[in-house]
Amino acid sequence: MRWLSDVTVRHLRRVAEWPDLGETKYRLLDELGRGGMGAVYLAEDTVLGRPVALKVVATGAAGGGTAERLWNEARVLARLEHPGIVPVHDAGALPDGRIFYAMKRVDGRRLDELAPDLPRLERLRAFQRLCEPVAFAHARGVVHRDLKPENVMVGPFGEVLVMDWGVAKALGGADASGPPGRAAADSPAVRTSEGAVVGTPAYMAPEQASGSGAVGAAADVYALGGILHFLVTGKAPFDDAGAAARARDGGRAEPPAPRDVAPDVPPALEAIVLRAMALDPGDRYPSVEALAAEVGRFCGGERVLAHDEGLPARVRRFAARYQTPILIVAAYLVMRAVLLLYGRR
């Protein structure tokens, strides 16, 4: 019998897991990555001659409603047409029985990998762009529930895409004009997710971590606050131990103040993070748009609503915002003073 090295065994585990596309219009090209639900493969749509990404549920993934989550994700994506949300082209079952959906292939880098390479202002601009598809989804009655830097892709032209909508939830009274055959409100994940704790502990809102079921758009505002925390400090709001502790106490732990983690974070930016991550949903920004607008005010050198700044800070912000006109006026005044002095001689 042939001996197989550890490297070959690892490779064969992947090969055996690769989807059987024999009776489909897709041709398998490569594996792009793996996650909790399954794997994403690069394939070619042989009919249209274009590359696509195929997300395929993992073998034997019977527990935890994985297939339902994949279906849910495909349906949610199909009803959210936005430049910041990956379009779905197709969905179904492979010849080997596994559920899959085909989506546009996304080139880019994950936000958690890219962020350290960006200056702060660009990180904040990316954050503002991230808020747009989330706000759009909320307007369509869909809450993501698992926003984190790892689920955000930034394309080569700075476009920001929100990924992994597997645990997204349609809110009551949402637009039910989902894909034909099944109304959105009947989607299995919408039903089964009620009361279940889904998401990532480090970015999860307290009401989500406690499993109370009262999870709405405010939970995404909290998670966005967590992402903003990461973008300004370079660290997730809770490390592994902190996230585990939150899971035990129902998510009531306060996140560390950004300036305690990175002292160079401006107080106004810290105030935005802390308001977005308030324990009580009522104390957070009322919407994602409000949060994005607040970050926009900070980037524009305007006064942010969450931060009660003193006079010195206000002067400094004013000086920073109007730096060029102030310099021109100052230069003019200095020149006039010099001319006056020389004129008297």
Partner: protein, 250 residues
């Protein structure tokens, strides 16, 4: 659609194959019991032997004797018949039986009595010993992980052999050769593309990818059928399949 391999949630079905070997060893029929033990022996004797060598630090000769005796005793005393699928996987049960067996043997110091004049079972220990010499060190692995890794290696090796013989029987040697070249023999650093492989064998790229897809599909089918055969229940099969393939990133 081939339901034989349909273990995804879409079809949610068990591969339609022979009855579980784990259940077969409890059968009233002697022939069925023999078949069950033969399947389990093929799947587990190498992992058991290597486990004894590496984890119990048994010498080459002792490990041979213990492996022979363990499976012979299992046959004689119906060890495997008392396996309860509700309590865990058969693989874990078998390893626990092996640990217990070794402890009893050591305690009773019966190895001399047990040592037979002629081998009880025909097992290629030299081959297994040579594999051990080539294996990466198992330092830092738990006994369970080490046993599982050897189990997977053996399962895949059996599947490759079966793929080879199935392809030969069906006149599909070329797909197997391509599979062997692209998936088994390739150096990890070698940038072998479908185009280059097509050049090597003088076939169009589409035919190469079709042959490879066929061989991969057959390999997956054989692996899952074998796994099905050495598990006792649908749940155990799914758990093992998920651990084997679903976590393939690990």
């Amino acid at each position: 659609m081939n339901d034989d391999t349909g273990i995804g949630e879409g079809s949610g079905s068990f591969p339609a194959t022979r009855a579980s070997a784990v259940l077969a060893v409890r059968s009233e029929s002697a022939a069925e019991r023999e078949r069950g033990l033969a399947v389990l022996l093929a799947a587990y004797w190498r992992p058991a032997y290597k486990y004894l060598r590496l984890r119990h630090r048994a010498s080459n000769e002792d490990a041979k004797d213990l492996t022979q005796a363990f499976f012979a005793r299992a046959l004689e005393k119906d060890f495997f018949a008392s396996y309860d699928p509700e309590k865990g996987s058969f693989r874990t049960y078998l390893r626990a039986c092996l640990d217990r067996f070794v402890a009893n043997e050591t305690k009773a110091a019966q190895r001399q009595k047990r040592s037979p004049g002629a081998p009880l079972l025909s097992l290629d220990f030299e081959d297994a010993e040579a594999e051990l010499a080539r294996a990466e060190p198992a330092d830092g692995k738990t006994p369970e992980q080490a046993f599982h890794d050897e189990f997977v290696r053996n399962l895949f090796a059996l599947a490759v052999e079966r793929l080879r013989s199935d392809c030969a029987r069906r006149g599909k040697d070329l797909p197997f050769r391509l599979f062997e070249r692209y998936e088994l023999d390739r150096d990890p650093d070698e940038k072998l593309t479908y185009d280059r492989l097509a050049d090597e064998v003088g076939l169009p790229v589409t035919q190469v990818t079709n042959f490879l897809a066929f061989a991969r599909r057959e390999f997956r089918r054989i692996v899952l059928e074998t796994l099905r055969e050495i598990t006792a229940s649908d749940r155990e099969f799914r758990d093992e399949a998920r651990r084997l393939l679903g976590d393939a990133a690990g």
